[in-house]
Assembly symmetry: C2
Homo-oligomer: 310 residues x 2
């Protein structure tokens, strides 16, 4: 079994790649829930949903979130009542949020809800939230403290980040199965997600960072920085804001002590020595997952780095 | 000012008729909320919504409820999670329910929520729920106690009703403005709604029946029974189940002591003497509201019976 730490879009793409070369039941994903928030009275869990929809083949390919071809009729109608509608939820997507919100109201833990939704979508990869407790990623930007989605979606990820914190993380416990999935893994993979904003919250849950730091199995991250640019906002803004260089060596520094190897894109090959100096063995591959062939190639490179036989 | 007691479909039609001949601000509607219930985690208030949508010109003309041309994409998606979807809510309609549910969660009384939604839809008629307190119409049918919507929508109104009760009515208080609207009315009108299932809950709220019984102004009901059939289910089933004849005299008996006159359809003219014997002055009109002309004609007949000058 391999265990993958992941956020939403980058996480879902790596999981899709891995699921193309490994049986789904060999993959456990520990998913960021620091972006979770309440919108329109609904509990929304962006990263687990993106992953679920993507693994089910139903994610909207243009937006990268939500369901393919979804409409937004309910949201347009909500404007009539004067509500902010900058956080978009499609008509079909909304059923997921209502289902989750009802289960939460019934006291069902988030980990069971995520498993239930993944099951309903026919997803075979095991999805675990980092915690059943509420952890909120708060971005300090331009002097304001903003919840992650407010910063990313409403403010369009401005480049003036001075701090990221994870409210509630200190008191949170890793969700059932998370520490066991790290302990039992034959390899630990960190997806090409935002190292600060998406992987950071997972590592902030007490016990998870220590478990990974202590793991005796191969630990491989995939760099989300390609040619000095982040694949998804706001990884670059956050790295820069916290004083890390926006490049593969910067990613290696964020993961210092947690990874043995960093898969970097061939466009960043010149950074290999600096990655090595930051403590991670650099592995050069093509990291963009644009089609089946590139997905398989990256997955095989990651598994080779992790010494996992598909 | 005239005050109209009403349920959903029949109530909305009479209100539309009255609003065609009277300024909207002269009309106050006291609306049944005994059908209100929770569906899919949302607080749904069927009769106030039907009336709001109808007065806004947005009700779906085929279904008689919901918004014109609405789609049901979210509901189809909800099936994936194994939920019952017999209670239909459209995509645009759902925005209303989410808005209401959020306001309820914030502790806003139902009367303010209904006014807010009516305002958002540009409705000028004043809409008051019968009560801000929860009253649930429970139909005993085939030995089972069923909430109203379960009986009507899920079970398709079977003809084996033995009892109707209004749970919570004893402890409910009339909503702010309701008793004042009865006291200040120049006439009290009872819409051609289900006398037992829609008007019954309003009359069950302590103080309302007594206020109408004691009112010194004209009190006029419009019969929902036309040619021995009810305009909407399940009025006939409920009248029969409770031992009333399914005809205009049966309606007059239900309203004994509460009305001075009953407007009956010309197809029921032969029942006029029995209506009179049941204590209400019979007024023969065409009661079907099928077009602007018939709506205006009925409204003028009702206002004439109530001695109200348009």
């Amino acid at each position: 079994m391999i265990t993958v730490l992941c956020g939403g879009v980058g996480g879902s793409r790596l999981l899709l790649s891995l699921a193309a070369v490994l049986p789904a039941e060999r993959i456990t994903a520990i998913v960021n829930t620091g972006d979770d928030d309440w919108f329109h009275g609904l509990y929304v869990s962006p990263d687990p949903d993106i992953i679920t929809y993507a693994l089910a083949g139903e994610v909207d390919p243009e937006r990268g979130w939500g369901l393919r071809g979804d409409t937004f009729r309910w949201l347009e109608s909500l404007r009539r009542f004067g509500h902010d509608t900058w956080f978009q939820i499609g008509d079909r997507d909304l059923a997921t949020h209502l289902h989750r919100t009802r289960l939460m109201g019934d006291g069902v833990p988030l980990s069971e809800i995520i498993a239930d939704i993944a099951h309903a979508f026919g997803v075979g990869v095991r999805l675990l939230p980092m915690s059943d407790d509420r952890v909120r990623t708060i971005v300090t930007s331009g002097g304001e403290d903003l919840p992650f989605q407010e910063y990313l979606v409403h403010r369009h990820a401005p480049d003036n980040v001075t701090q990221i914190r994870f409210d509630g993380a200190d008191a949170a416990r890793a969700a059932p199965g998370v520490l066991a999935a790290i302990a039992a893994a034959e390899a630990i993979i960190i997806a090409p997600s935002n190292p600060i904003g998406s992987i950071g919250p997972i590592l902030a849950v007490p016990g998870i960072r220590d478990a990974i730091a202590a793991a005796a199995v191969p630990r491989v991250a995939v760099s989300p920085i390609v040619g000095g640019r982040s694949l998804q906002p706001p990884a670059a803004e956050m790295l820069r804001g916290l004083g890390f260089p926006v490049d593969a060596p910067g990613v290696a520094r964020v993961y210092a002590g947690l990874i043995d190897a960093l898969v970097i894109d061939e466009s960043d090959a010149a950074d290999a020595a600096r990655v090595e100096a930051a403590g991670a063995r650099p592995l050069i591959s093509r990291t963009l997952m644009r089609d089946d062939a590139s997905r398989r190639a990256l997955a095989l490179a990651v598994l080779a780095a992790a010494r996992v036989t598909p």
